[in-house]
Amino acid sequence: MNSSRRKFLKLAGMAALGITAGKYEKIFGLTGYSNTQHSQSVSKLRAMVIDIRKCLVEKGCTACISSCNKTHNVPNIDNTKHEIKWIWKEDYENVFLEKENHFLNEDFKHSEILILCNHCDNPPCVKVCPTKATWKREDGIVMMDWHRCIGCRYCMAACPYGSRSFNWISPRPFIENITKNFPTRTKGVVEKCTFCDERLARNQLPACVEACPQKCLLFGDLNDSKSEVRQVLANNFSIRRKPSLGTNPKIYYIV
């Protein structure tokens, strides 16, 4: 009697562990790149490498930022409560909050670092979106469907990188020269970088990559071991933002 109850409790304990183990992987995102794991790399896996060493050569340079803003009709709003950002610069200590990597070049720590949507492999924003207005494409791009966005801003609360902006006011009056072939957004919609999906579809590189005079932005396919991004990552030390969160960012910084 006694021993069988013991057995039962043991079994139940094991079963509970077994069930939660599967969930644990999902919740904490320790499964690595879903694309490489499940299929024999049929799809591309888009990623960007930012070489901070080269980027800081010309500290005041904003070529990539202006190019992006122009291409996507990103408004220029001075009020920081209302501003819209797709790609921008932020102080080192705000970008790499966890300070995991000690004794880096001192110069980095007193500089502004270029940031944009990390296109996480395990994107928290996608999980919370109630309308599927944001989702992860097969090639790893975290896309936005502005038509479906209801402006609930759950995604902004979920994003650990502050990569998303909400249109509190109508953006049109703040766009100096409207680029005609890309729609603006409207009040009440969230927006962010989409890795220039509209340019990739036309076999062009993202606007920021193309605009960089120092060629410090590289863009490519992580699933292709011969791609430039893979080569650079293999031969240089790189860091990512808040890696401990398990979001698995696809923006790599060479330091």
Binding site: M143, W146, P183
Partner: protein, 130 residues
């Protein structure tokens, strides 16, 4: 009858009130007939699908285009002549129907439809050829 004057006046006012839509309409002018659409054929004599289909279902087509482009990463559409065109509201539809006021708006005003697409999509006058 007590107060017959007041009752009669009340009835008259009541009748005037409930017939308000009818006489207001008759004062305001008559039915103007269907709106006259200005069709610019300089970019081609045909629409992307048959005129009948476009008249009835252009909104469905636009919704399909939108989902294909934004959600399925597919930007091109083959029309019956075999030509591949870009699925785009601003860049395709409006390059032929550049006179939005005399075309889209005129019919929409008449039908009482107000598409909100133009909050974001840009009405271009004429697509610069590049």
């Amino acid at each position: 009858m007590y107060d017959s004057g007041k009752i009669l006046a009340g009835i008259i006012i009541f009748i005037l009130l409930i017939t308000f839509p009818f006489w207001l309409n008759s004062i305001q002018g008559e039915y103007k007939g269907e709106p006259e659409l200005v069709i610019d054929r300089s970019n081609g004599a045909q629409c992307v699908k048959s005129t009948d289909y476009m008249r009835n279902s252009h909104m469905t087509l636009l919704n399909e285009w939108r989902d294909e482009v934004v959600r399925n990463d597919n930007r091109f559409y083959t029309i019956s002549s075999g030509e591949r065109i870009e699925m785009s509201l601003s860049n395709t539809c409006m390059s032929c129907h550049a006179n939005k006021e005399e075309f889209c708006d005129r019919c929409h005003d008449y039908s009482g439809v107000k598409p909100y697409c133009w909050d974001c999509h840009i009405e271009q006058k004429k697509l610069e050829t590049n």
